[in-house]
């Protein structure tokens, strides 16, 4: 899984890195446009275009029938029934491409969440660091120590919450850059990246997780933690990023879906796709 994540992350880094200094709406629009193209391509390749065209024509015909024979109850009811059936057929035609699209869209969303879900810490800003432990491990029985490199300041002693099997610390960003916290216990250790930014867009991996396919897929920014250690998650609570729209903070997911839908529909003629 680490290889897949590395490949995907590398691709997105390549794509978005040149746009880091731009207004975040620009990289978002670029990704949305590319996603729109990808979706159109998948739709065209996977869907039954003739069938979709036929069923849409059928729906139009029955709508016309409804309008023309609105005074004939029998015809109207029959037309409505046929519209319903045609709609079900249409959904059936759309189901297959949607099913195929789910996988790339999900991978794109996971990548975008790293870029747009959180923002790097600003210099002087504090953040919570959490180490979650696996079942059977107690934070009180093992001495977990967090080491902060230059560029980060460890502000508190560890807070151990036995009930949640967690150890928490607070760190403060002191200098811009990508820094690495090191968590040590017994003779073992694990590192966690912390991004301190200058306001520009940057990939922010919020958590490093223990080997587990789904958890690894959803946290692609860093290599997985060893599967046999006590730590299941090493997390930094970054501030949430919002896209500014005339003073309103828009969640990136809303922006992404609206933009990719609009752009997808706008270019469907170019791809000669019937949706």
């Amino acid at each position: 899984m680490n290889i897949v994540n590395a490949a995907l992350s590398g691709f997105f880094d390549l794509l978005l890195s040149p746009l880091r200094s731009a207004n975040p709406w620009i990289p978002m629009a670029v990704i949305s446009l590319l996603t729109g193209f990808l979706m159109l391509g998948i739709y065209r390749a996977v869907s039954d275009q003739d069938g979709i065209l036929k069923v849409k024509s059928c729906i139009k015909a029955h709508l016309l029938e409804l309008r023309l024979f609105k005074n004939d109850l029998g015809v109207s009811l029959r037309a409505q029934g046929r519209i319903l059936v045609a709609n079900l057929r249409y959904i059936g035609y759309a189901f297959k491409p949607l099913l195929v699209m789910i996988i790339p869209v999900m991978l794109i969303l996971i990548q975008l969440n790293d870029w747009f879900g959180s923002r790097p810490l600003a210099v002087g800003e504090s953040a919570l660091v959490k180490a979650e432990l696996a079942e059977g491990f107690s934070p009180l029985e093992t001495d977990f120590r967090l080491e902060a490199p230059a560029g980060l300041v460890l502000e508190t002693e560890p807070l151990r919450v036995e009930e949640d099997r967690e150890v928490n610390w607070r760190i403060r960003a002191a200098a811009p850059g990508v820094h690495e916290l090191v968590l040590r216990w017994g003779g073992a250790s694990a590192a966690k990246k912390v991004v301190v930014g200058d306001g520009r867009l940057a990939r922010v991996s919020t958590a490093r997780v223990r080997t587990n396919v789904w958890r690894e897929i959803s946290h692609p920014g860093e290599r997985a933690l060893p599967g046999d250690g006590p730590v299941t998650t090493l997390e930094v609570r970054y501030p949430e990023r919002r896209l500014d729209l005339f003073g309103m903070g828009v969640h990136w997911l809303v922006a992404y879906f609206v933009l990719s839908l609009v752009l997808g529909f706008a270019f469907k003629g170019l791809f000669k796709v019937t949706i």
Binding site: L128, T156, E157, N168, G247
Partner: protein, 672 residues
């Protein structure tokens, strides 16, 4: 400024009034229509910067200037002008600032005291004693479905100051103004100018500030702490579960209190805790303040009201102690009107993040109740001051036309709470602590010296820079219970003598035998027939004679401990006031002698065993004296020609600087 200590209005009733409207305003059911700022206009006159430094005292100023500790003030006094500034009668902050705001005396603007009374509600303790500067009305029309109440019209918060504010007059004259946190401007008067509310702005509960304090120490649990709630909590499995109480839910018939859950996890050994509230998690070390945290109180599924709080982790081990500030209205999403235009509040929040919006943000109640100690209080007030200075820099940097008025509250609050360290005669003077905190008051004067230097540096040759205060300060050593004095002299009668000290809000008063009563900090009223619903004294000659008699006796009263007169002047209201609101003026206005003040309980109609007493509170400096006892200060970078300038003269001066005709209601004269 003075708070009402000991006997606040019944909280529930107050909240019903206050937050009924607040929650409606939050729901968008009612908000004042305020037009956009007077932008892009060019003032005809000079640029004017006014620094309003609440409570700066003429005596202290003179002393520390002479000692060379305030070089900028001294320089300004030598190059321009420096004079004592006559304050209002009585010298209470809302009264004094209203004098300046309107250019009238209380007879014109109608604010005579922090507290007024409604004579028609004499037998209704919850409506008889009212705040003087604002009135809150719940929605008049509601739709009731089951246990839910849906407002069909907006609630209202009204500013009760009569007359036009000076920035409204300047607006009429085309002079753009920024008025930052001037007291007695809540809710903000309708204007296109850029204004932000000041003293008088409530917290989210509609009160002057209710802190929350969570402690595991049983001896700290006190049910009657003024200005806050003390909650007993238990640490179970290194965890504390508690709630922050919110406003009453006006969308429900039974008006239950709202609350948000708070979970605190503490480390079994280390002095550190994690606080979790509404999805926010943060760590605090012992003796550490949090950043602002936003909290929201759910009302009905589609409606909620939000505010901001700071947490202070006072202690983790061996006992757990956590303080939470009063819930300030969130400036980024205000549930109550905070500014004109409405966007100004959001603009500041976008620039600076959340900030203090409650009228007087420093929590003097918490210090008085020993919930915060002196250092902790100073840490909070320092935060308030830094925040204020940062915003001043912002406003000063973009000030290029018209008027900038900027207000500082820390000057007033620190003198109230730290005067005891300058006064060896104070009943709570502690030489050890005085050595440690004896320079706190001086240091805030020095801070103001730096602020003034900044303003002067930014001013060009034609910019008028004025520094003013609304009143000065005097020590508060001895208390005088006016109502007990009235009773002792046969002017006030009780139903049950044995319950004398137990009841408040005049619930034990026998109005059929009472001729006079004291409400508020400096004011006395005759129980006048036809005006008071239970009045017995005939208006006209009988009342006039009684007023003169009581005034004379009050001025003759002597404190047996000090041998001094506690009251220098007992002015007859109609003799000293003029203007459109003079019919509502108090019958007698007390001007206390240096060292004396009204007792803590008298203003809300509570009696004490003795007329006189020692003031043992940390609130040890005050300004309820006769106006000549507590003059404010006036500095300007041009000569002050008036011999005895008063607050309302500054209003006239402003209009004169811009060549705007002075309305006939204004009583002042230009000082330059």
């Amino acid at each position: 400024m003075k708070r009402i200590n000991g006997h606040p209005l019944d909280r529930r009733e107050f909240l019903k009034l206050g937050l009924g409207a607040a929650t409606l305003l939050a729901a968008g059911a009612g908000s004042p229509g305020i037009a956009a700022r007077t932008a892009g206009r060019s003032a005809a006159g000079p640029k004017v910067i006014i620094l309003g430094m609440d409570g700066l005292d003429f005596g202290f100023m003179r002393r520390w200037m002479d000692e060379g500790k305030l070089p900028t003030f001294r320089k300004l006094a030598e190059a321009g002008g420096f004079a004592p500034l006559r304050t209002s009668d009585p010298p209470q902050s809302p009264v004094a600032w209203a004098n300046f705001i309107t250019g009238t005396n209380p007879g014109g603007h109608g604010i005579y005291d922090f507290i007024h009374r409604d004579p028609s509600q004499q037998t209704d303790p919850n409506n008889f004693v009212v705040f003087s500067a604002t009135a809150t009305e719940a929605a008049k029309r509601n739709l009731k479905i089951g246990n839910y109440v849906f407002p069909l019209s907006g609630g209202k918060v009204r500013n009760l100051i009569q007359g036009k504010a000076f920035w409204q007059l300047l607006e009429d004259g085309g002079v753009p103004s920024t008025i930052f946190k001037i007291p007695a401007n809540y809710p903000p008067v309708g204007s296109k100018q850029r204004t932000f509310v000041g003293m008088g702005t409530p917290d989210l509960l509609g009160t002057y500030g209710q802190f929350n304090y969570y402690t595991t120490v049983p001896s700290e649990i006190a049910p009657d702490v003024s200005g806050g709630w003390v909650h007993q909590v238990y640490v179970i499995g290194n965890r504390v579960d508690t709630k922050i109480p919110g406003p009453v839910n006006s969308f429900r018939k039974d008006q239950p209190d709202t609350a948000v859950d708070v979970r605190v996890d503490i480390d079994p050994v280390h002095p550190v805790a994690r606080i979790s509230v509404q999805g926010q998690e943060f760590l605090l070390r012992e003796k550490e303040w949090s950043d602002w945290k936003k909290i929201r109180f759910g009302l009905i599924p589609t409606q909620s009201v939000g505010g901001i709080v700071l947490f202070y982790l006072k202690q983790v081990h061996p006992e757990f102690k956590l303080y939470v500030t009063p819930i300030n209205v969130d400036p980024s999403d205000p549930a109550l009107p905070l500014s004109t235009p409405e966007s100004y509040s959001r603009e500041l929040a976008a620039k600076f993040g959340p900030f203090f919006t409650k009228g007087l943000p420093a929590d003097t109640h918490a210090l008085d109740a020993d919930v915060l100690d002196e250092d902790e209080f100073l840490a909070m007030d320092d935060r308030i001051l830094r925040e204020s200075l940062e915003m001043f820099d912002y406003e000063l940097a973009r000030f290029n036309d018209g008027l900038l008025f900027y207000y500082i509250s820390s000057t007033d609050q620190r003198q109230h709470m730290f005067y005891r360290f300058l006064d060896p005669l104070s009943p709570v003077y502690d030489p050890g602590q005085a050595a440690r905190y004896g320079t706190v008051v001086e240091s805030i004067y020095r801070e103001m010296d730096v602020l003034l230097a900044k303003a002067l540096a930014a001013a060009d040759r034609d910019t008028v820079v004025i520094t003013m205060s609304d009143h000065g300060f005097s020590p508060f050593r001895r208390t005088f219970n006016l109502n007990t004095w009235l009773k002792a002299n046969g002017y006030h009668a009780l139903i049950n003598e044995r319950r004398m000290t137990e009841d408040t809000l005049f619930t034990n008063t026998d109005w059929s035998r009472t001729r006079a009563y004291g409400v508020g900090l400096n004011t006395l009223y005759i129980n006048e027939r036809g005006r008071e619903s239970e009045g017995i004294v005939a208006p006209g000659a009988e009342k006039d004679a009684l007023v003169r008699e009581i005034a004379r006796k009050l001025e003759e009263a002597v404190d047996p401990k000090t041998g001094e007169r506690p009251i220098l002047h007992a002015h007859v209201g109609r003799d000293i006031y003029s203007g459109q609101s003079v019919d509502h003026c108090p019958d007698i206005v007390l001007g206390f002698n240096r060292g004396s003040r009204i007792s803590w309980s008298s203003p809300m109609g509570t009696f004490s065993k003795d007329i006189f007493g020692d003031n043992t509170e940390k609130w040890s400096g005050d300004h309820m004296g006769a106006s000549e006892v507590v003059p404010g200060i006036l500095f300007a970078n041009r000569p002050i020609r008036a011999e005895h300038p008063a607050l309302y003269d500054l209003t006239a001066s402003l209009l004169a600087l811009y060549g705007i005709d002075q309305p006939k209601e204004l009583v002042g004269k230009p000082v330059f």
